[in-house]
Amino acid sequence: MSTVIDSGDADRLDAAWWIDRIVKVLVFAGGISAIVFILGIFAFVTKEGFGFVLKDMDVVEFFTSPNWRPTSDTKPTHGILALLAGTASITGFAMLISVPFSLGAAIYIGEFATGKTRETLKVLVEMLAAIPSVVWGFIGLSIMNPLIIDLFDVPVGLCMLNAGLILGLMAAPIMTTIAEDALKAVPDGYREAAEAMGATRWQVIWKVVIPAAKNGLVAAVLLGVGRGFGETMAVLMASGHSINMPEGVFDPVRALTATIAAELGETVAGDTHYQALFTLGILLFAVTFVINLTADLVVRGIRKK
């Protein structure tokens, strides 16, 4: 046989080549869709909220006044200090509890636990991550609320403590999972070398594994903070949702995210209140973007080594 490829084969090859080209374009479109969407989020939230930034916003009042009264008939004010304080106090309290527990759990699951125990614990942590935000809010409202009232003898249990505990539990799985991944990424050779020198398991973890996984652990905490900062429904339902500069853990507080969720329904598209809520959205977007970018850069720091 002298002809290797007859014309029928050539046509088929041609078709295969064209399909390949078309698929390549389609798949590329899918790939850049993530960029299109994130730019779209930024563009649309800014488009709806920028009228407020340009026209009605008093920058000093916005950042330094604790008075958020966008619906006042006489003199509406748009100060977000109390909302910032609410978000910061809840997130801070949540991290205070959640960071040590999550890192501890990551170390236990990654370094100590074996076999069935390890798998079971991992599944439980995954289940914890799967509980929907609104169910957490409901738990804060109907289980934690009476519990806090009884335990601490306070009039209302919807407060910073309640929302902080809930948020801590919500942020824990993401921190545990990412921290455990970071520990797993440390080469076994490091551990073996240290153990060969006579170090105990804990000495290996403390002196070798944790320093080697440091960046990943920092990224885990950052992403946990981002999660807490952006949480909406659970915080709305468990925090008490009243505008307040918090002074103690039993004070009800109000978060930025919850403010948008609670008030957007009352606004008319395009009015000042509506635009002000979108401005809060711009702020939330910017802060979480910076947190995620930082976490990404920190993780890249390890890969370069």
């Binding site: 779209g40 939230v45 799967a130 509980i131 929907p132 935000s133 609104v134 289980i143 952006g230 970018l293």
Partner: protein, 289 residues
């Protein structure tokens, strides 16, 4: 020469102490899931009946069942999947099979991390600004599902990319050496070998989508509607928003009712998760390479 010294003993004590301490911390993290589930089952369990699942809410949502909310959640999740699964798989194929390590790939990865990290309420604002107002879909299932789809896109992308990358590179090389195009290789070798992993990711996305509340509140879900949705341009009730409504907005709700709704919602979500986890474990055990 190799006698145990005081130092050895101290190190061992520290080691034992630390192990117990971290073990207890882990259990304290894992325990709430079991406690919460237990409380929901005990208090909400008696509410669940065939009638609860198939009847309309009555008397200002203080009595009756959850049928329209259940149907609405199924609508929202199905439409969201139709949108996000093809896009997500395409994106994962691009990242795993085509992309080189360029600034473009880095930008895509960063965008994915951010899509997952942007607060759900910001996704909601985006949905209102883009789909409800700009594209004029109004508050509808379409607008809500688009918002949900974009929000949960990273779940599909990450899971799919992982299972694509688990297919050994030699499989692809063998196929290319036979003269196959990139797409033929993907179609005949890569996808068949990773389809179950992709499915695991899709199930996980269903469970995430079903539980979300904030993104659908202003884009297409209503607290109460007297009719079922007929098309994607209608509004709908949803299980998650229903739980929010009866536990915060409606007065005189009997105490057990929201427990029943919460149990159905969490049951749905955790069952889907369990299927996904079980599937993954089974796959791992079956892996031939």
């Amino acid at each position: 020469m190799f006698e145990r010294t005081e130092l050895n003993a101290r190190n061992d004590r520290t080691q034992a102490l630390v192990k117990v301490l971290f073990g207890v911390m882990t259990v304290l993290l894992a325990l709430p899931v079991l406690i919460i589930l237990g409380m929901l089952v005990v208090r909400g369990g008696p509410m669940i009946s065939w009638e609860f699942l198939t009847a309309d809410p009555t008397n200002g949502m203080t009595e009756g069942g959850i049928y329209p909310a259940l149907v609405g959640t199924i609508w929202l999740v199905s439409v969201a999947l139709l949108i996000s699964v093809p896009i997500g798989i395409a994106a994962a194929l691009y990242l795993s099979e085509y992309a080189r390590d360029t600034w473009m790939t880095r930008a895509i990865n960063l965008a994915i991390i951010n899509l997952a990290g942007v607060p759900s309420i910001v996704h909601a604002l985006f949905g209102v600004g883009a789909f409800v107002l700009f594209f004029k879909f109004g508050t509808s299932i379409l607008a809500a599902s688009l918002t949900l789809a974009i929000m949960t896109l990273p779940v599909v992308i990450v899971a799919t990319r992982e299972s694509l990358q688990a297919v050994p590179h030699e499989f692809r090389e063998a196929c290319w050496n036979m003269g196959a195009t990139r797409w033929q290789t993907i179609r005949r070798i890569v996808l068949p070998n990773s389809i179950s992993g992709i499915l695991t990711g899709v199930i996980l996305e269903v469970s995430r989508t079903a539980g979300e509340t904030a993104p659908i509140m202003f884009t297409g879900a209503a607290m109460f509607l007297p009719f079922l949705p007929q098309s994607v341009m209608d509004q709908t009730m949803a299980l998650s928003l229903h739980l929010f409504a009866i536990s915060t907005q409606v007065t005189d709700v009997p105490e057990e009712l929201p427990y029943g709704v919460a149990l159905v919602l969490i049951g749905l979500v955790l069952a889907l998760n369990a299927v996904s986890i079980g599937f993954r474990t089974w796959l791992r055990g079956r892996k031939k390479w």
